[in-house]
């Protein structure tokens, strides 16, 4: 009998139970009189090890441990959107209400989803329909812009034998009843459970051939990421990881954002809450929160829940993907999650591998990043999850295990650089060490939508930056005065690219989001100036004379001067370059 199982040992978040054979691996259990939530993480002949998601202060040996016979699961149904959860999907606002305090008490009995709220449900199947897993049987508007689709849970199928009328329902009301071939009856409500550590099934994976447009020049133009891809954003503290994540969450063209604050600062999460509720989504005219789910497990909240928060986040993301949405998931930061693994592993006295991290770190990381995907869902729609994981390497040293292993499982690497952050070059993405492996998958899309020149421009821009990097080695030693004019030109053009193109001002109305077409035009005009100037310099016009024309400075400021909807102004710029250079040309 499981009810006789009692606490034996306690060590921080780790609790053991002696002589029990009742528990399943990864089973959800309730621990002690105050019914703390825990999960079975190890079973030996005489000891069952449980990690507890809450503070264990005051727990005594001999208190009961009760199993639930099911794994740690997320509750999936309407009411997730716009909500703010902790790492194990407990709504923080309800915790606040229940504990009536600004501090989190031990509150095990908060419901994951509001069971009293009524949703306006439309049933989309009728009696006699045969339904299989993943098919949609009902819809309801969850927020103004997100239509929630209730899907037959994986593993369930059958013929509809009863349906309710359209109308207002709570999430636990039965709306459709199925009967399968073996005459099993399934009562479908608006919600379902899914174990957080198991990926939800899909019909098939698709090639990641559509970019996630972020409106951030350095990402879209130089290091693009595909919808369904995974990117790592490593950077030491103060390099602007969080700012970058915020910008991406605000502006990327995903339908839904799942933002996981994993072991990060409380004030920062508070800022996300404020900003997202104030920010109006440019596409729908509604607040960002209408399409955002936040998971906030700050650094001082229990460490085991931090470990779970990443899985909770991706499970919610998969659920919306299965409805046919494009989801972007931001995880800030995966290093804190890895540290939670290390901490728990240490308490279990497991043999450590590199830097004290457990040997299973790489496999856990790959399991997580592999859940990013562009897929055909079970119901035949297309959906995707793009994962953007921040990595906080210790001492900004990219050779540490979390960064290195993350690199292996993501195809985009946006390395943030402290020295760039020092000079307030934001986003502080280092163009020399960052890379994207999605070029070959995405180039057809770019060619189709922006013309083949776009790819050509990108290559040239990146060539100039690489050339500048080489020249800077010399400049550092002997100063820029000794360089010949054609090399000085490279440095000047690279300066325009760095300051005028790569640097992007998140607080500027026009510059915070830049459409792809403007990005292309900006690259075009920089390269145009480069080509014209090169021509004149080869006719031995000194570069100082060209700079005096003011065009170099003008291009540096074009990101502010040319509004996003007045791209015809670029032609005026071209004309101006032509005219000014023409006068010089005539002089010689």
């Amino acid at each position: 009998m499981s009810s006789t199982d009692v606490v034996h040992g306690i060590n921080g978040p780790i609790v053991t139970v002696k002589d029990s054979k009742e528990f399943l691996m990864m089973e959800l259990v309730s621990v002690g009189e105050s019914r703390l939530i825990g999960e079975v993480i190890g079973i030996t002949e005489d000891l069952v090890t449980i990690q507890v998601y809450e503070d264990t202060t005051g727990l005594r040996p001999g208190e009961p441990v009760v199993g639930s016979k099911r794994p740690m699961s997320a509750r999936l149904g309407p009411g997730i959107m716009s909500n703010i959860f902790d790492g194990i999907q407990r709504p923080l606002l309800d915790i606040e209400k229940q504990s009536n305090s600004a501090f989190i008490d031990k509150t095990a009995n908060v419901l994951k989803l509001d069971e009293e709220r009524l949703f306006e449900v439309t049933i989309v199947v009728s009696i006699g329909n045969k339904l299989s897993s993943g098919q949609i049987y009902a819809t309801c508007p969850e927020t103004e812009i997100i239509l929630h689709k209730c899907m037959v849970p994986p593993g369930v199928s059958g013929e509809v034998i009863n349906v309710m009328e359209d109308g207002k329902y709570k999430i636990n009301d039965v709306v459709v009843i199925l009967k399968d071939d073996d005459s099993n009856i399934y009562e479908l409500t608006l919600c379902q459970n899914w174990p957080i550590r198991t990926p939800r099934p899909v019909s098939k994976r698709l090639l990641a051939s559509v970019p996630l447009v972020t409106g951030q020049r350095v990402f879209d133009s130089l290091f693009p990421i595909a919808k369904g891809g995974a990117a790592a954003v490593p950077g030491g503290f103060g390099a602007g990881k969080t700012m970058t994540q915020h910008q991406l969450a605000k502006w990327c063209d995903a339908d839904i954002i799942v933002y996981v604050g994993c072991g990060e600062r409380g004030n920062e999460m508070c800022q996300v809450l404020n900003e997202f509720s104030e920010l109006i989504d440019p596409k729908s005219g509604r607040p960002m929160t209408d399409r955002t789910v936040l998971i906030a497990n700050t650094s001082n909240m229990p460490v085991a829940a931090r470990e779970a928060s990443i899985y909770t986040g991706i499970t919610l993301a998969e659920y919306y993907r299965d409805m046919g949405y494009h989801v972007a998931m931001m995880a800030d930061s995966t290093s804190r999650w890895a540290e939670a693994l290390r901490e728990i592993s240490g308490r279990l006295e497991e043999m450590p591998a590199e830097e004290g991290f457990p040997a299973y770190l790489p496999s856990r990381l790959s399991e997580f990043y592999e859940r990013a995907s562009r897929v055909k869902t079970l119901s035949g729609a297309e959906g995707s999850i793009t994962v953007i994981g921040a990595v906080s390497p210790q001492g900004a040293d990219f050779s540490e295990p979390v960064t290195q292993n993350t690199k292996r499982f993501t195809r985009c690497f946006w390395a943030l650089d402290k020295t760039l952050a020092y000079v307030r070059h934001y986003p502080a993405v280092n163009w020399m060490t960052s890379y994207s492996e999605y070029f070959s998958d995405l180039d057809p899309w770019f060619t189709r939508n922006l013309g083949y020149e776009f790819i050509d421009y990108r290559k040239k821009i990146s060539e100039i930056l690489h050339e500048e990097d080489k020249l800077m080695e010399i400049v550092k030693l002997v100063g820029s005065d000794v360089l010949p004019d054609d090399q000085k030109l490279v440095i000047e053009i690279a300066k325009i690219i760095r300051v005028g193109f790569l640097q992007q001002n998140a607080f500027h109305k026009e510059d915070t989001f830049v459409p792809l077409n403007k990005q292309k035009q900006m690259m075009r005009i920089i390269l145009y100036l480069n080509q014209k100037a090169k021509h004149l310099i080869s006719s031995s016009v000194p570069i100082s004379k060209l700079i005096k024309l003011g065009m170099f400075e003008k291009l540096t400021k074009m990101k502010y001067d040319i509004p996003n909807d007045k791209l015809e102004m670029f032609d005026d710029y071209i004309k101006e370059i032509d005219e000014k250079f023409e006068t010089i040309f005539k002089e010689i």
Partner: protein, 478 residues
Amino acid sequence: MIINYIGAKEINGSLLVLDGVTNASFDEVVEIDIDGGMRRYGRIIQIDGQRIVIQVFEGTESMSLKNVSTYLTGRPMELPLSPEILGRTFDGAGRPIDALGEIFPVMQLNVNGRPMNPVSRIYPRSYINTGISAIDVLATLIRGQKLPIFSGSGMRHNDLAAQIVRQARISDENEDNFAIVFAAMGVKNDVADFFKESFQNSGVLSRVVTFLNLSNDPIVERILVPRCALTAAEYLAFELNKHVLVVMTDMTSYAEALRELSSSKGEIPGRKGYPGYLYSDLASLYERAGMIKGKSGSVTQIPILTIPNDDITHPIPDLTGYITEGQIVLDKSLSGKGIYPNISVLSSLSRLMKDGIGEGFTRHDHPALSNQIFASYAKVMDVISLSSVIGEDELSSIDKKYLKFGRLLESKFINQASSENRSIDQSLDLAWLLISSLPKSELNRLDDDLLNTYYRDEDKMEKGKVVLSAALDELSKN
């Protein structure tokens, strides 16, 4: 029923192991009598069936397996609190050591605190004027922020902290509403005396709550010091609605105490022997800064840590930097030049600054100006490294201007007397004056409006018979 457990199974460092205990709860406080006389306190840190491990606060000296008698209190470690704690001094376990008698508690709070619910927080936006130019203009301190000072041995971080405590004021608040909690962990006697004297001289002693654990006091108590201090701070801020500034020094000693304890418990070490949970442990302290809805008080933290061997990648500063909202880094090469406070401009940062400065907070030109100073000063560094290769004479004229700007910034702007209290307007005006030593074309972070209003053209100044150096003299007189 009071049960005393007689004897012990094992004693190791500060840990006492008992067997046959049936009613222990995790993290509860125990009282230990030695030979029926001396009383010590401890905390249960591990339970394994009937075997419990107790961490003894005052150390296990003169305990034997036979002479101890342990009583379980059934409560976690709590701090007695009342408004009378202001002006008092306590030891690491929260007992008064100033011979002024016991506190009569209005309430008892668990020293471990509880995590603040992120949805109940107020995002901190009001700036604190510290009167120190380098902080106010370049790394603005915000009420509810945690902003550590990264220092090293031989630098004047204590002077800086004392100056901040003395001068820090919030413009829109009356004077009565603030309190200071001072937590000293493993500090030398002299340092404790220095702070006490400095509080006394500035007349704030009656608003200070001190928690003292000197470097020769037991290390177990050192781990409790910040917890007690922050519990007191939370009480003052959220029960009595005061603005509390918590100064914690030295976090390095704290982390070392944690390491010592961890190794005596036989835990698997992480980086440099520090326990794997160092991040979570530090976070459980630093995250106790902030403001919450429905309360007008706030907790602002200034932890001080001395970086071992000036290595900023050492786990303590590294993990601290990841948790705190920025850092103020002190630089040895500046202190070598005789500059106080020796704040390193480029590596110091305040993350909350962007939303707490500018129009309506400090002054509308502040954000762009501070950005420009960072960018220009970074260029100064490049020029310096170039000049060390080719010599100063070979520099271009513009590079020479940068060099001059760098020197002026260090000697006139960063450098100030420890008694000097500059208003935010004074600091910003001074910064404009210095940045005007660079030509307008170099200032690409400032838009034309700002330049027209604030830029001090040398030509114009010549005409008005005000040259830069004279303007500087004039400004420093004010």
